[in-house]
């Protein structure tokens, strides 16, 4: 089963994403901040990571940087969730190696399609 990690500090959003991706047939893991996310990434392997940018402890950019500079995790696709108006930060995320981004507010069907597309590329 394809394993997806969602790192998002907004509990409501996290829950909705979790439900949606579970419904799409993925094995979903969740983390409420970057630190928890990094710990999960160290302890197991994922096929895709979805992360918010603004989070406590470790932000999304740092998480992308950590994932993409690690030999073992650098091939995992990372999708960034960002609020409108953070275009510069999104560019920075792409520079660090992020594979895709979705700006909030977003359509869950769009997210679902992007997840599928990014997973297809690595399988």
């Amino acid at each position: 089963m394809v394993k997806v990690l969602i790192v998002e500090d907004e509990e409501l959003l996290l829950k909705a994403l979790e439900f949606r991706l579970k419904k799409d047939g993925y094995e979903v893991y969740t983390a409420k901040d970057g630190l928890e996310g990094m710990e999960l990434i160290k302890s197991q392997t994922f096929d895709l990571i979805i992360t918010d940018i603004m989070m406590p402890y470790i932000g999304g950019l740092e998480l992308v940087s950590n994932v993409k500079t690690n030999k073992e995790t650098k091939d995992i696709p990372v999708i960034i969730l960002s609020a409108i108006g953070l275009e510069k930060t999104v560019l920075e995320a792409f520079r660090l190696g992020a594979d895709d981004f979705i700006s909030k507010p977003f359509n869950l069907s769009e997210l679902s399609i992007r997840v599928r597309k990014n997973i297809k590329q690595i399988l």
Binding site: E10, L12, K15, A16, R20, F106, N107, L108
Partner: protein
């Protein structure tokens, strides 16, 4: 331990019943004050303890409700994007109706989460949440709060109803759009723009209170970013008696490049407010209103330096070439800024302007030569 407290109690009892009458009056007064303080503190600590316990219980209860509601709403969000609105509303409505939403705390959590989801997702999700919000009559409390005597609560209610697109409150919003309270006024104006389907700019007709600079920025953002808002000709409000309305409309005329406003913009050149005159001149220059040139020249000598600079810059933007002599004469002004603007304006006239500057270069003073060199430098924009 109990005997210790018993001994203290006995001592106090004896002190206040048998021995009290034998003490001098100042000691008696002191003992009463001590007794009063002890009772007071005991009550205070008891109150704090009970309140904290109650808050703790409430927090725990709210957390349980929050988790429950998050799960229900997350399901609505997930399915709401795939099924049609009516099906999903009919499916989830009975489940939500079974919840004790008559309880203020539960209602509060539900509304808060609905608003958060509504702000995070696009697509049919917003429509589903709105329909559920209305069918559950959650708007009732917010509508009631519109009349609350605290403006913070009124604003909260306006935000809630606006986000849920409850359009039958526009009359109330129109009333608040000219309220004495600046915060409430701005919130009502922004909400009116978003909710009014017929004339979203009607509040400008009756605005007597000031629209502060940052309010103008907020309104500008709402106007330019709200989808399907019908943009009128803002020239209608350029004659308003409220200067701040005129300033806001000038920004909008400029943003939407409304050429039909040129006659009103020309009229504003004689407005008593200096800032309005400056803004009007800038826009006339930006939209290259050649018909305004004569009026600008006519008022030039009666205006202060700030306005004169704007006129010279505007003549450069219009660049009709009709007033080169006027501009040439201004290069000999006493004021450095005017000379600089006049030279820049001549340069803005393309090849003709460049040639003129090259021709006059040799006749000019040292400082003017430096200005000409500066404005002819291609590297400086």
């Amino acid at each position: 331990m109990s005997s210790f407290f018993f001994a203290i109690f006995q001592y106090l009892e004896e002190l206040f019943t048998s021995r009290l009458p034998f003490f001098p009056s100042n000691i008696r007064a002191a003992l009463f004050i001590i007794l009063f303080c002890m009772v007071g503190f005991s009550e205070l600590y008891l109150f704090i303890f009970l309140r904290r316990t109650e808050q703790g219980i409430r927090r725990k209860r709210d957390k349980i409700w929050s988790e429950k509601l998050t799960n229900i709403l997350a399901n609505i969000i997930v399915y709401g994007d795939e099924e049609d609105t009516t099906t999903i509303v009919e499916h989830f409505l009975p489940r939500l109706q079974r919840l004790p939403i008559h309880r203020l705390s539960v209602r509060k959590i539900l509304v808060k989460e609905m608003l958060a989801y509504n702000a995070s997702f696009t697509g049919t999700v917003g429509e589903v949440l709105r329909e559920l919000y209305l069918r559950l009559k959650l708007d009732k409390v917010a509508k009631k709060n519109l009349n609350n005597r605290y403006w913070e609560i009124q604003i909260e209610a306006i935000r809630e109803l606006t986000q849920m697109r409850v359009r039958d409150i526009t009359d109330k919003l129109l009333k608040y759009s000219d309220d004495e309270n600046g915060q409430l006024r701005m919130e009502a104006q922004a909400a009116f723009l978003k909710l009014s389907t017929t004339e979203p700019f009607r509040f400008l007709d009756r605005a007597r209170e000031r629209i502060l600079d940052w309010h103008q920025l907020v309104l500008f953002e709402v106007i330019t970013k709200t989808e399907d808002i019908e943009i009128p000709s803002f020239s209608k409000w350029l004659t308003s008696a409220n200067d701040t309305v005129v300033m806001l409309c000038l920004k909008l005329v400029s943003h939407y490049q409304q050429l039909d406003a040129i006659p009103q913009l020309i009229q504003l050149l004689s407005h008593p407010n200096l800032l309005i005159r400056i803004a009007a001149i800038r826009i006339l220059g930006k939209i290259e209103a050649q018909t305004a040139e004569e009026t600008m020249l006519a008022i030039y000598f009666d205006e202060p330096v700030e306005v004169r600079i704007e006129i010279l810059e505007a003549l450069g933007l219009i660049a009709s070439g009709e007033h080169m002599e006027f501009l040439r004469a201004r290069t000999r002004s006493d004021e450095f800024k005017l000379r600089m603007s006049a030279m820049r304006s001549i340069r803005a006239h393309g090849r003709g302007g460049k040639e003129l500057l090259n021709t006059i270069y040799s006749e000019e003073t040292l400082q003017n030569k430096a200005i000409i060199k500066h404005v002819l430098d291609e590297r400086i924009k």
